[in-house]
């Protein structure tokens, strides 16, 4: 039985087949974390929205979903990869000149433009700063269109703070409030010690008219959302970036399901009110 509708999209590019990219630069960020700058071997880098991810494939090892943490004007993607498994370990060990497969970008992005006219609170925990960095860059590039901007950053320790070279210029700007905290530190650390949700009451923003962008480990996001809600931020103005197992990135493999959502296509960036009921159910 031929289908009732003819489908012009069937001729489109197969979302499974990667494009070949070359590792242009490897930057060690943390002991177990590197940033890879990847440029396409043929053609131009596709457009992306801050918050989206690519599927990176290491030859003979496999594929992993890695958020886009920066782009360069030369047309390359930057991905920050932490070596936690076989695939991410192989990606984090790549050398300049290696060819990798890349497909994407996939998923939803931070709705940065929706925050125009309002205050913006960005809350990043650990590697959660990676997918938020392009959003922060977009905010700062268009700074006049937003109200107050607060960037709250948490990490395990001073040594594991991501992108210190990016944080420093943000901290120097008079029109951005950057608060940094770490969970654990020695007495030589002059900064804050405490968990990142604890920064929420310390930041200056109008809870009635602000948008919050939150990314980090799920527990950190739950506590942060609680702090934001306590401060009076409406659930529908809080956006979080979820993480689940992903194989296909287009909603076909089923692995990333989070209740009714496919994190790969309905996320990773999701409005908190859409998932609030699921957030605290174990093993969803």
């Amino acid at each position: 039985m031929s289908m009732a509708t003819t489908d012009p999209r069937a001729a489109g590019p197969a979302p499974f087949v990667p494009q070949a990219y070359r590792v242009e630069e490897v930057t060690r960020e943390l002991a177990d974390t590197v940033s890879l700058r990847l440029a396409p071997l043929d053609g131009a880098r596709p457009d992306f929205r801050p918050g989206q991810f690519n599927m990176l494939w290491a030859f003979g090892v496999g594929e992993a979903a890695i958020s886009i943490s920066d782009v360069e004007t030369d047309g390359s993607f930057v991905h920050t990869v932490r070596a936690v498994g076989a695939v991410s370990g192989a990606l984090a060990g790549l050398e300049v000149g290696t060819r990798v497969g890349l497909r994407g970008p996939f998923g939803t992005g931070w709705r940065v433009a929706e925050a125009r006219g309002a205050d913006v609170v960005v809350v990043a925990g650990g590697l959660g700063l990676a997918p938020l960095r392009p959003a922060i860059q977009a905010l700062l590039a268009d700074r006049a269109r937003y109200g107050r901007v607060a960037i709250l950053v948490g990490a395990r320790s001073p040594e594991t703070l991501l992108y210190p070279e990016a944080l420093a210029p943000w901290q120097r700007r008079p029109d951005v409030e950057v608060l940094v905290t770490v969970d654990h530190a020695g007495a030589d650390w002059a900064g804050r010690v405490g968990v990142v949700p604890g920064l929420v009451p310390r930041a200056a923003f109008d809870a009635d008219d602000c948008v919050a962008l939150v990314c980090g480990p799920e527990v950190m996001m739950r506590f942060t959302v609680a702090a934001l809600r306590h401060a009076g931020v409406a659930a529908e103005r809080i956006h979080v970036s979820m993480e689940r197992n992903m194989k296909c990135a287009v909603g076909w493999c089923g692995h990333c399901q989070f209740g009714p959502a496919f994190v790969c296509k309905d996320g990773p960036v999701m409005r908190y009110d859409a998932i609030a009921d699921l957030f605290s159910i174990p093993e969803v």
Binding site: A10, V17, L41, R99, P260, V284
Partner: protein, 381 residues
């Protein structure tokens, strides 16, 4: 909208006509696939001629039990559904997604050549037509299109069969997917087996079906034939082995993730994944990467996967769904509830395979009924 069944062109064919149908399809280059008896079950495999159909066999199906039993007639379609579903052809268990070649100049990815194969499915049940329509939504109606699935699906010729026998675990009536094939076929047959005849009422569902019918020895179907076909379907509808109350089912499951019944079912569930393999709509897959020893060639293969495996939800550090309880809950809640959020229909077609092929006889209709009977009343919104 599909026309009312009565408005369709109908005709009558006999066993010779059915043989001619198989031959005509093969003649048009189709790989004809249909029910056949193998390994003490009725499975879907290649059909060369009429004798490959399981004439005179039926099944006894119950929770955790499937047995072939000889009929006292020579019905060709006198059974419900076995362990196979048509997804094994449209959404194959193993499929190469691409190959990669690496040399000093670069890295090249190549999609496999599209298969020339065109399938003709003979004996597709009403519930299975719905299952195919459900998988169409998954693979064809999102922002991306699965080109391989799309090509196989577009080319497939579908001969449906209205059920003359309800299986012991069938509940298509509850799911409103059968037993009559209403749409989504090229031709639909109803087996009319009476003392003095063995005919098939043919309904035409598409221009391709009409063209094919013209090539078969057929005769006009009369009112008595239509009434006989209606009676076959009506009798099957009245003999469903199971029922499932669908009213409010979505909210019931989504509102009760902590119901104690999930613990109860976890005591019985082996997390073997049989239910997901036999389910005609379960579509989940994983991928495997293979590479040669020289490190120059690699390929990526897509394989059926199951949400019952621990690996399925693995995130660095561990699996999200560690307990069997959470994995069964995920499967059943997805199938009967969140599927509706995702694709606008239930993921269940009432075929009963998951009940029959569960080694411990877990019955999705029973689990749903118990949760319904024992769930706390919903608070008013």
């Amino acid at each position: 909208m599909e026309p009312e069944p009565r408005a369709r062109t109908t005709a009558l064919i006999d066993r010779r006509g059915l043989q001619a149908l198989i031959e005509a399809l093969a003649d048009e280059g189709y790989r004809v696939v249909g029910p056949t008896r193998r390994d003490d079950a009725i499975v879907y495999d290649d059909l060369a001629d009429l004798d490959d159909l399981p004439a005179g066999w039926t099944e006894h199906q119950e929770a955790g039990r499937y047995r072939l039993v000889a009929r006292d007639d020579q019905a060709l379609f006198g059974y419900a559904v076995g362990p196979h579903a048509w997804k094994r052809f449209l959404h194959p268990p193993v499929e190469t997604l691409w190959t990669a070649q690496r040399d000093e100049h670069g890295l090249t990815f190549r999609s496999p050549e599209p298969a020339e194969e065109r399938f003709a499915f003979l004996g597709v049940r009403a519930c299975e037509l719905q299952a195919i329509a459900i998988q169409d939504r998954v693979f064809l109606e999102g922002p991306h299109v699965d080109a391989g699935y799309g090509a196989r699906r577009r080319e497939a010729f579908i001969v449906a069969v209205n059920c003359g026998e309800a299986g012991g675990t069938c509940f298509c009536v509850s799911m409103q997917t059968g037993p009559r094939a209403e749409s989504g076929f090229d031709l639909a047959l109803t087996e009319l087996l009476e003392a003095d005849r063995h005919d098939f009422l043919v309904e035409v569902g598409s221009p391709a079906g009409a063209a094919l019918l013209e090539r078969l020895p057929h005769r006009k179907a009369g009112g008595a034939d239509h009434r006989a076909a209606d009676a076959v379907v009506a009798r099957t509808a009245s003999r469903m082995g199971r029922e499932l109350e669908t009213q409010g089912l979505k909210a019931l499951l989504q509102d009760n993730p902590e119901h104690p019944r999930w613990d109860d079912v976890a005591e019985r569930c082996l997390t073997c994944g049989n239910c997901t393999m036999v389910c005609p709509t379960c579509f989940c897959t994983t991928v495997e990467d293979h590479s040669d020893l020289a490190g120059t060639r690699a390929e990526r293969v897509r394989l059926w996967d199951s949400c019952f495996t621990l690996d399925f939800s693995y995130l660095h550090g561990g699996s999200v769904r560690q307990s069997p309880r959470s994995r069964y809950r995920q499967w059943m809640t997805h199938k009967l509830a969140s599927w509706i959020d995702q694709f606008g229909t239930s993921g269940c077609v009432g075929c009963g395979r998951c009940i029959t092929w569960c080694p411990t006889g877990i019955d999705i209709t029973e689990e749903a009924a118990v949760i319904r009977a024992t769930a706390p009343q919903r608070r008013d919104p």
